[in-house]
Symmetry: C2
Subunit: 168 residues, 2 copies
């Protein structure tokens, strides 16, 4: 903390603060707009929802199946919501619940062959949407942002780690 | 659409597609992590929620008051959710409902003096959190991202406009 309260210094600090806030609001607005577009297209073109698509995407990456607890943690939603989504997808024949290999009180959720085929078609279209939505950036700009976001990611990981230490 | 299916071209296209998808997933992950941190700090330090904070922020920018419909549109949540949040904030004396100037069936939500004082304290702390969370970028990098996001924003606005035209 500096004790220098000269107007110049203060206004400089304050400008930097506003820069961060303005940047955060723009980052949030862009992300929200893209997510809204994806949500809307999933509904219109595939009559599905983002939570359902995200759950299928997780299962596609884990062919061995996932427990409800793992799904809930990965998707950052409550267990109750995951149960509702799995129920729907099971009723449609896209996923199946199987007894867990080691934990008898638990079970594993897996994609069915139908679910996998369906998801792969959806995923290919979803990828084209993302290409279109991020089309405001050329390849060089994309790679620039990707690198800059890596820096943000490791900064956030560091903050989260410091916080865990100070809470421990 | 090109008819050239040579392996090189295909793999190049596919690399570009994957670049967009990877970038989108990283952008989404960073935004979500920052939002989670803010959500958690609002709960721990101010015993409040992001929807309540966002609603107060909207009202602070509109001293003339806002209708429920305007709040709902700005906050991109359903009317029912806005009603719940306004009810809570009104019970705490932070906002007040007043009869609408021209529409007798409607009313206007405004910050009380207490609500405004409270929100300004919260907002100053919130801004410091954002400075800390985006601290992985120096001023130059922040300004670079800010400019790149402007390009994304106008691209998204163009896409949304084209879509409205094709739906009209």
């Amino acid at each position: 903390m500096t004790q220098d309260h000269s107007p110049d210094l203060e206004s400089r600090v304050s400008d930097q603060d506003h820069q961060a806030l303005r940047l955060w609001l723009r980052l949030l607005a862009c992300t929200t707009r893209i997510e809204d577009q994806i949500r809307q297209r999933l509904r219109q073109d595939f009559a599905t929802t983002l939570p359902r698509f995200d759950l299928l995407a997780q299962l596609e990456r884990h062919p061995e199946g996932m427990t409800m607890r793992e799904l809930s943690r990965r998707l950052m939603v409550t267990g109750g919501n995951v149960t509702g989504v799995v129920d729907q997808l099971e009723a449609e024949g896209q996923v199946v619940r199987e007894p867990h290999a080691t934990d008898r009180r638990s079970f594993t959720v897996k994609l069915t062959a139908t679910g996998r085929r369906q998801f792969r078609k959806w995923a290919a279209t979803h990828e084209q949407w993302v290409v279109e939505l991020l089309g405001g950036w050329n390849a060089e700009q994309k790679s620039e942002i990707y690198t800059l976001l890596a820096g943000l990611k490791s900064h956030l990981a560091q903050l989260e780690q410091d916080e865990r230490k100070s809470n421990a």
